[in-house]
């Protein structure tokens, strides 16, 4: 689906800042390999999906990664730590300030651009992925959590594999 929900809503500066902080912390725990913290950014029924622009626009339900709740999100990290084999690598996220696309009580819809660089062991960093986060965030008054984060990669093509979340 094209994002016809734009143009963006006006949201007050303090809300934008809280969301921005959430995104920065999200990028931080991934880039600093504190991956056990990552599932905590989601509500218990939180949904996490990594897909591509082509699949997203064609409404394809399968993702590169598709977690339907926080337990599945935790399993991704469990498998990454204990089962899957891959060459050591790290990410560096650059995350734009968010654009609010909907406000509905305590649920906010957002779209945020990001770029993610990947460094595999001692090789030079490379652009691994650029794309956008399509988020639904729940605000319980003190804590913001993702009810849904769909990561839409701009390219259909992933280099080799994806195991660390975006």
């Amino acid at each position: 689906m094209p994002d016809s929900s734009l143009p963006p809503f006006d949201a007050d500066a303090s809300l934008l800042q809280r969301i921005d902080t959430l995104n920065r912390r999200y990028g931080h725990v991934i880039d600093e390999d504190k991956l056990e913290e990552w599932p905590k950014f989601f509500t218990e029924d939180g949904r996490y999906m990594v897909t591509t622009r082509q699949n997203h626009e064609a409404n394809m339900p399968v993702g590169l990664i598709l977690c339907e709740n926080r337990a599945m999100i935790e399993d991704r990290i469990l498998a990454l730590r204990s089962a899957n084999l891959f060459e050591p690598h790290s990410y560096r996220h650059l995350i734009d300030p968010p654009v609010v696309t909907g406000l509905d009580g305590i649920e906010y819809s957002l779209q945020t651009s990001f770029a993610c660089f990947r460094t595999v062991q001692s090789s030079a960093p490379e652009i691994f992925c650029t794309g956008k986060y399509l988020d639904r965030i729940i605000d319980d008054g003190s804590i913001l959590r993702f009810k849904e984060r769909i990561v839409v990669c701009d390219s259909e093509r992933i280099d080799t594999l994806i195991v660390i979340p975006l």
Partner: protein, 408 residues
């Protein structure tokens, strides 16, 4: 040992130069990709309407696959007969006719040259040479045949018809999995850091499954005690390996609540990931099939996928996955397939290692062009069938098929 020197009936040693040699690569393009083999082009459901097209490579050759107004699928080289420009620039779309943007020559959906801009010149001046015959300048066409919703193409006039090329055993499995209305649930691509044959060897390598993919053993997805076999078609070209749910303990083996991890501290927090239903009467729970040279069909529990690995020079390749469901699926079954699809693709729990190992082998064999790999697990020749999957016979079969076509 020169790359093509195999001992008679012995494909248990493969010179590493086959992966990196430029001459071998060029010969493969001619003998395999433009030679006597069928190449996967598209699922028919990707091109539902007249005029729907997609572009894709067959080997190194850019190809247009298009459904014409009679409902037939055609394939032609994406190269204008005038001066070689790409006729279709977008990777998919819908068109009435094919127009080359460079000088506006147009082709019909069968690839026939229809019109030439300023064919008669302008006000009587210029125009195409008198002797130019439009009917001799179509887009170069591939022979196309479809089977179970899959369209294949070949540049060869000699290769037998598609189902004869596959043979009845291979057709049986294709029919079992895809002989019904299917739905595309997703399509993903990843670039691999090595030669395409390293990936096809992996597809046919039944030996590595429980060793490389720890996710499977940790969660006992594929126990070695399961019944099954590896089958190789005549001449080695294609292969099929399958596992059948053990009769004794079938109840609950895939029941999510029964899944126990080998390590007590490592259990899935969301075992519903592996929830499945017995989709096939034969109780096949795993089937991996390769169709020579570079195509594969796979069933893993209820995840049904197609894979195509396209060479991008000797040391790079590109893998595309099609993840499929059946139109007849209930909403619950569809949801199970979608969840299980976390097992496959570039981020798949039991697939990501296969992509990585292609790059690791490429790096490992750099500078070892005079050395050979060993494929002696289960013998040295290519038997047609083995019940043990601790066997490299299907990989030996790949080299038998490869060798046969390269020498033909």
């Amino acid at each position: 040992m020169a790359p093509l020197d195999f001992k008679p009936n012995d494909f248990s040693e493969v010179p590493y130069s086959v992966y990196s040699d430029e001459q071998i690569y060029a010969q493969e393009q001619k003998q395999l990709f433009q030679g006597d083999a069928w190449h996967f082009l598209a699922m028919e459901i990707e091109l539902p309407n007249a005029g729907d097209y997609k572009t894709m490579p067959v080997g190194d050759t850019p190809v247009i696959v298009v459904r014409d107004k009679n409902g037939n699928i055609n394939a032609m080289v994406n190269r204008c007969a005038h001066r070689g420009n790409l006729v279709c620039i977008e990777d998919h779309g819908n068109l009435d006719c094919l127009t080359c943007v460079y000088h506006n020559w147009t082709y019909d959906l069968q690839g026939n040259l229809a019109t030439i801009a300023f064919e008669k010149g302008i006000q009587g001046n210029g125009g195409m040479a008198e002797d130019f015959d439009k009917s001799c300048h179509s887009l170069q066409r591939l022979r196309v045949e479809t089977y179970c919703g899959l369209a294949f193409g070949t540049f060869s006039d000699d290769v037998p018809s598609l189902t004869d090329y596959f043979g009845p055993e291979m057709c049986g499995n294709i029919q079992r999995l895809l002989g019904r209305d299917m739905e595309l649930l997703g399509r993903f691509q990843h670039g691999l850091d090595g030669n395409w044959k390293l990936y096809m060897e992996n597809v046919r390598d039944t030996y590595h499954a429980t060793l490389l993919h720890s996710f499977m053993t940790t969660f006992r997805l594929n126990r070695l005690s399961m019944k099954g076999a590896v089958e190789v078609s005549e001449g080695g070209l294609h292969h099929l390996t399958y596992s059948i749910r053990a009769q004794d303990n079938d109840q609950g083996q895939y029941d999510a609540k029964e899944i126990r991890a080998q390590k007590d501290d490592y259990a899935l927090k969301a075992p519903e990931l592996l929830e499945s239903w017995p989709e096939f009467e034969c109780d096949t729970t795993l089937a991996i099939q390769s169709l020579f040279p570079n195509f594969s069909i796979q069933q893993l529990s209820n995840v049904i996928t197609l894979r195509l690995i396209v060479p991008k020079g000797p040391n790079k390749s590109e893998l595309t996955w099609w993840v499929l469901g059946a139109v007849e699926d209930t909403p619950e079954q569809r949801a199970m397939r979608i969840r299980q699809s976390n097992l496959v693709g570039p981020g798949g729990y039991i697939a990501m290692e296969d992509g990585a190992v292609v790059g690791w082998v490429r790096r490992g064999v750099t500078g070892a062009e005079d050395k050979k790999s060993i494929l002696a697990m289960g013998g040295r020749d290519v038997e047609r069938i083995s019940e043990s999957r601790c066997n490299e016979l299907a990989v030996r079969g790949f080299w038998q098929g490869w060798h046969g076509l390269m020498e033909s």
